[in-house]
């Protein structure tokens, strides 16, 4: 199995990406194609013992940087590293692609090159992000900042499939994230989505509010990527801030090992995404995984491991089958979507 990795993706590229790749190649026994400027990537690779691992470099000088508009940057930079890496999957030269950002660039490349599975218009970033509520999946966490009601319905179907396949929940409850539990609360998109979800045949339980997320009130919580991304980053920062505050308060009152255990537990409970490093872009017609932009080498390696798992479990094939089944139950054939 070969995984194409954007060597220039993320805040710490290419250093942390290359280091993560070397670890992943050994730990997960996968071949890696690193895509980026040949000399720069080779210089990083030379720092590590790469004997016994299959890592090759595909050269390109162009790559996306934070601050660019990802969709338009991909039009201007036709040889951007994430675009080239994604094309390797399309051409059958790699089984999966991994990129650490900008997230919009990974999403845009996946959309342009691989497309989405039939019936879903946009890739979705999502999953369980709070350790306090491991059976609650949030969709979308940043792939789509402006969404139409029909896209939120797509997220609900994908989230339902995710909860069924990955969390083994037979009939997951689905809720819309809003500013009030009652129907009619929320912005225009949320209100329009509410009636769509009501008719969808999914196990829709109405709106939930922010404070319902940590309690796991719904298995699938739907929001646009703008809200989802703010929420996940807020929770990460809140967890880290509370840990720093806690360490300061108890550092001379509790043994260091006890403090570390509590802090590690709290970080995991508030930041599952960082623990996993990222995950698959759901609804893409191929395996494309996005790693957190702040990913260090261990998170990059973790996401490469997830990419391998996604290929091995044929998650894309499973999702396609489940979507057909779900749409059929909802009397919404894919051809009408």
């Amino acid at each position: 199995m070969k995984i194409a990795v954007d060597a220039m993706g993320g805040d710490y590229a290419p250093e942390e990406v290359v280091k993560g790749v070397v670890i992943a190649a050994k730990e997960y026994d996968v071949g890696i194609i690193l895509v980026g400027p040949q000399a720069r990537v080779a210089e990083e690779l030379a720092k590590y013992d790469c004997s016994g691992v299959a890592i090759e470099i595909v050269d390109t000088d162009e790559y996306l940087v934070e601050g660019e508009h990802p969709a338009y940057a991909l039009r201007q930079k036709r040889k951007a590293s994430i675009l080239v890496a994604t094309k390797l999957v399309k051409e059958g030269k790699a089984d999966a692609v991994v990129g650490a950002g900008p997230t919009g660039g990974v999403v845009g490349s996946a959309l342009q090159v691989l497309g989405t599975v039939e019936g879903i218009s946009r890739p979705v970033v999502g999953g369980a992000f709070l350790g306090f509520a491991p059976k609650t999946v949030m969709m979308d966490l940043g792939g789509n900042v402006d969404c139409r009601p029909d896209q939120l319905l797509d997220f609900a179907i994908v989230g339902t499939v995710y909860a069924q396949k990955m969390l083994n929940i037979q009939n997951p409850t689905v809720a819309l994230l809003s500013v009030g539990a009652e129907e009619g609360k929320g912005n225009e998109i949320v209100k329009a989505s509410y009636s769509l979800l009501q008719k969808s045949g999914l196990n829709f339980i109405g709106n939930v509010e922010g404070y319902d997320i940590p309690t796991g009130r719904a298995n699938v919580v739907i929001c646009d990527g703008f809200v989802g991304n703010i929420l996940v980053k807020f929770c990460e920062s809140l967890g880290e801030t509370i840990c720093r505050w806690f360490e300061d308060k108890v550092k001379e009152k509790l043994p260091e090992s006890d403090v570390k255990e509590i802090v590690d537990g709290l970080l995991l409970a508030t930041n599952l995404v960082s623990a996993s490093g990222g995950g698959p872009l759901w609804a893409v017609d191929g395996v494309a995984c996005v790693a957190h932009g702040r990913s260090r080498f261990n998170e990059i390696a973790g996401v490469i491991g997830q990419a391998k798992l996604a290929v091995k479990l044929d998650l894309v094939g499973s999702l396609k089958a489940e979507l057909v089944a779900a749409r059929s139950k909802l009397n919404m054939p894919l051809s009408e979507s």
Partner: protein, 83 residues
């Protein structure tokens, strides 16, 4: 159906599929904004049309396009230039 009509219909079909409104029609004065097309939608349209006609769309030239009528004319011109 003339070749020009064929391009017009194809552009409409691609655009409407991407904005997920396959059952509507649009006028020459309709804008991308009217269709609720965001940047990713527009990029998808451009890539699909480049693939369909084997043309290269210049994003700078597109800045002058203000509505769907202009967009269809632009695609027709690029296809004609290609010969």
């Amino acid at each position: 159906m003339s070749a020009e009509m064929s391009i017009e219909e194809k552009v409409k079909s691609i655009v409407l599929k991407i904005v997920r409104k396959p059952d509507i029609d649009f006028a020459a004065t309709t804008t991308f904004k009217d269709l609720n097309a965001d940047s990713l939608d527009i990029v998808q349209m451009l890539v699909a049309l480049e693939d369909a006609y084997d043309i290269e769309i210049d994003d700078q030239e597109l800045q002058e396009v203000t509505n769907m009528g202009g967009f269809i004319d632009y695609i027709k011109r690029k296809v004609a230039e290609k010969g």
